[in-house]
C-alpha cells in the first residue's frame, strides 16, 4: 500500500510539472497606418475592447490615484473599452513586457521613460506613433520633443510631459552666502565663483554645504544627466548615425568641469539623483541638476522645500549655449491590430488634455507640457525659472545599447572624480570601451 501511495504521489508531481507548460494565443499585428480603417473607427465605439496598459507607476505611492482616475474617466466616456493594467516595479517593467510578448501576449500600450525607446524599438516591439495617431494630432506637439523620440527617422514614443535637466537652487542658502537669490548662475564660470561663497556654509548641525550637485553614480539616468552636461558645453556623445562622436571640445570640457568640481570638493562624489534630492531637501546642497519631476522627491523629504527652491535653465559652458537634452515620460505603442490601435488612439487623446493632466503635472509630478496648445497652462511655481529651457533643447541620438552607454559615461565620470584618472586618459579608455559596445 505504501508503495502504491508513493507511486501515486510521484505521478501527481510529474503531471503537475507537465501542466506547467502552456501558451497564449498570439495577436495578429495589422501593420496598417494611423487612424486605422473606417470599420475599425466605427467598431471601436461599439465592440467590447480591452486595452492592456503596462504601467509601473501604478505601484508607486502618489501616482496610483491619478492613473486610477484616468481609467475610471476613460471607461466612463467609452463604456465598451476596458483598461487592464499590467504592472511591475520600475526596474522590471520592460522585462515584463518583453517576456509577455515572447510568450505571445503583447500589451497594447506602455508608459515608460524616453530612454527605453531604443531598446523596445530594437526588439521590434513598438510601432511608430504615426501608425496610431494622426499627423494633425501630432502637429500639436513641439517638433523638438517629437525629434527626441526618433529612431531611424521614425517617432517611436509620445511624450506625455517633458523636462530637460534643469538647475534647482536653494534661495535661502544663496542669501546666507551673500548672493542674490533671484540671480542664479547662467554659466559654469559664474557657478564656480558663487560656489566659493556657498562652500563656506554649514548647516545648523555643522554639516558642510555642497555648492553643486551632478549625479555620477552607476545608474542609467546618471548617464543621461551627463549627456545633458556635455550638450551644455556644446559637445556631443553620438552622431546622427549612432556612432561615437566624442572627439569634440565640449565633451572634454564637460568632464574637465566634473574633475574641477571634484578637486574643489564642490560635488558630492558618486551620488545618485536620490542622494542629491536628499541633500538638497535637507539644506546640504545649494544647487543641482535634476529632471523637473525630481522636485517631487525633494518635497516628499521636506514638505517646505517649495519655500526655498527655485529653478533655472542649465548652465552655459565653453562654447556651448547651455542646451540640454529632453527627458520625458512617454507612451509606447504595440501593434495588436486595428481595433486595439484605435482604442489606444482614443485613450491617448483622452489622457493628453489639460483637464486630465493639469493637476498631475502641476502638483504631483512637476513637468512641462509636451503640446503647444497646453503652453499656457498653469505650471508648478518652482518650475517657472527654467521654463525657457524648453526652447533650448537638443535631440540626442539613440542607440539600442543606450542604457549600457549611459553606464559607461558614469564610469568615465567616476574615473575623473573618485579614481583620480586624468581627463584625457579616462576619455581614451571610455572611447575604447564604448566603440566596442556600439560595434
Amino acid at each position: 500500500m505504501k508503495r502504491v501511495l508513493a507511486l501515486v504521489l510521484a505521478l501527481c508531481l510529474a503531471l503537475s510539472l507537465a501542466a506547467c507548460g502552456g501558451g497564449n494565443s498570439t495577436s495578429q499585428p495589422s501593420g496598417s497606418t494611423a487612424g486605422g480603417s473606417s470599420s475599425a473607427a466605427d467598431a471601436v465605439l461599439s465592440e467590447e475592447i480591452t486595452i492592456k496598459f503596462a504601467n509601473y507607476a501604478l505601484l508607486e505611492d502618489g501616482y496610483t490615484e491619478f492613473w486610477e482616475g484616468v481609467k475610471s474617466g476613460f471607461e466612463t466616456q467609452y463604456p465598451n473599452i476596458t483598461i487592464e493594467w499590467v504592472t511591475a516595479p520600475y526596474g522590471e517593467i520592460t522585462n515584463q513586457v518583453i517576456n509577455m510578448a515572447g510568450g505571445g501576449d503583447m500589451v497594447d500600450i506602455m508608459f515608460g521613460e524616453l530612454d527605453w525607446i531604443p531598446t523596445l524599438e530594437d526588439a521590434g516591439l513598438t510601432v511608430p506613433v504615426t501608425s496610431v495617431l494622426t499627423e494633425e494630432y501630432l502637429a500639436d506637439f513641439y517638433p523638438s520633443v517629437l525629434d527626441s523620440c526618433r529612431v531611424n527617422g521614425e517617432i517611436y514614443g509620445l511624450p506625455m510631459y517633458i523636462s530637460p535637466f534643469i538647475l534647482y537652487y536653494n534661495k535661502d542658502l544663496f542669501e546666507q552666502a551673500g548672493l542674490d537669490p533671484n540671480t542664479p548662475p547662467t554659466t559654469y564660470d559664474e557657478m564656480l565663483t558663487m560656489a566659493e561663497s556657498l562652500s563656506k556654509l554649514t548647516t545648523a548641525d555643522g554639516n558642510p554645504v555642497y555648492p553643486f550637485g551632478q549625479t555620477t553614480a552607476s545608474v542609467a539616468v546618471s548617464g543621461a544627466a551627463l549627456t545633458g552636461m556635455v550638450y551644455n558645453f556644446g559637445g556631443t556623445v553620438l552622431d546622427e548615425n549612432g556612432q561615437l562622436a566624442t572627439g569634440n571640445q565640449g565633451f572634454k570640457d564637460a568632464f574637465t568641469m566634473l574633475h574641477t568640481l571634484d578637486q574643489k570638493g564642490y560635488n558630492p562624489q558618486n551620488s545618485k539623483l536620490k542622494d542629491l534630492r536628499q541633500l538638497f531637501a535637507t539644506g546640504q546642497l545649494a544647487m543641482y541638476y535634476d529632471q523637473s519631476w525630481g522636485f517631487n522627491g525633494v518635497s516628499s523629504i521636506n514638505p517646505d522645500a517649495a519655500s526655498f527652491t527655485a529653478s533655472a535653465p542649465a548652465l552655459k559652458g565653453g562654447s556651448g549655449n547651455g542646451a540640454s537634452i529632453l527627458q520625458g515620460q512617454v507612451l509606447l505603442y504595440m501593434d495588436n491590430g486595428d481595433l486595439q490601435r484605435e482604442a489606444c488612439r482614443l485613450l491617448t487623446e483622452y489622457m493628453l488634455t489639460e483637464d486630465v493632466l493639469v493637476d498631475y503635472i502641476t502638483n504631483i509630478t512637476p513637468a512641462y507640457p509636451a503640446k503647444q496648445s497646453m503652453a499656457n497652462m498653469e505650471l508648478n511655481p518652482v518650475l517657472q525659472g527654467a521654463a525657457s529651457s524648453i526652447d533650448n533643447l537638443s535631440s540626442a541620438p539613440f542607440v539600442a545599447a543606450q542604457a549600457d552607454l549611459n553606464l559607461e559615461l558614469c564610469t568615465l565620470a567616476q574615473a575623473v572624480t573618485v579614481s583620480g584618472t586624468d581627463v584625457d586618459t579616462a576619455i581614451a579608455s571610455f572611447e575604447q570601451t564604448a566603440s566596442g559596445m556600439l560595434g
Binding site: 545599447a401 549600457d404 573618485v418 566596442g436
Partner: protein, 311 residues
Amino acid sequence: MSTSTAVRQPRMKLKKTTGDQLFSLALIAPTLLVTIVFIIVPVIDSVIKSFTEYKIKNIISGAPGVWNNFENYIKLFQGGKLWPAVAHTLLFVVGVVVAQFVLGMALAVILNTGLKGARFIRSVMMMPWVVPTIISALVWMWIFQPQYGLLKYAVGVFTGGAVSDFAILNDPGTALLGVAIAALWKQVPLTTLLLLSGLQNVPDDMLEAATIDGASRSKKFFAIVIPYMKSVISIVVSMAIIENFKQFPLIWTMTGGGPSESTTTLAILSYREAFVSNNLGSGAAVTTLWMLLMILVVALYRKLFQAEDMN
C-alpha cells in the same frame, strides 16, 4: 469446474530486485524530470546561445540565434572587462568565504559554551538571514551613506573628528569591502547555525579523554573538533562559495558595479551584457565562463578538502 482451472494462466511475476529497481526509478522520475527540464535544458540552451547573436528581437519573433563565429567570446576577451570581473569575483568569494567561516566558527564556539541567553542570541542572530537581500542592501547603503550615514558618524566619533569624509562605497579601493561587509552580515548567521549543529555532534567522551590526557584547548579544537566537523564544514563552505559566486542583488543595488567598475563581478557583467546592453548571446557567454569558473573552484575545493569518516 476442473476445465476452467486448467485454462487459467499463471500470473507473471517480476523478480524482487527488478521490481525494486522499477519502483526506485518511478520514485526518482519527478526529480529527474525537474532536473532535466529546469536545470540541464536551460544550461545547454544558454551555452548554445552563447555562440550565437541572440537579442530581444529573437525572443519576440521566436527566431533562433545566428551562429556568429565565437564573436561573443572574442569581444569579451578583447573588451578589457572580463579579467577585472574575474578578479573581483574571486577576491569577493575568497574574502567573504574565509571571513564568513572564521566569524561563523567563532560565534558557534561561543554559543556552544553554554553561554547564558545563548538560545535568545541564536534566535536574534538569525534576523539578518531572513531579511530580503535587497532590503539588506538598502539598509547598508544607508549606513554607508557618505553625508548622513551611521558609519560616517561612528568613524568621526572614534577618530575625534579627524576623519570626516569616510565613504566606503565611493572609493574604488574600498567599495568591494563595503559590499562584502553587507554580505557577511547577511550570511554569517546561517553559517554559525550550521557550524553550531556540527559542534554539538562532536562526541564529549573524546574531548573528556583528551582533557584527561592534558590536551590544551587549541589542541582539542584542531585535533578533535575540526576533524569531526569536516563534513559539516565542507558543506558550509561549498554553500558559501556558491552563494557568493552568484551574488548579484546586493552588489547591483549597492553600487551598480561602480565606482570605476571596482565592484563589477561576473554576475554584474553578465546582467549588463544580457539585460542592459540587451545582448542575450553575450550575456550567455559571460554566464558560461562564470559557470565553468565556479565548477572549477568548487571542484578544487572539494579535492583539497575531502571529508574523512571519523567513525
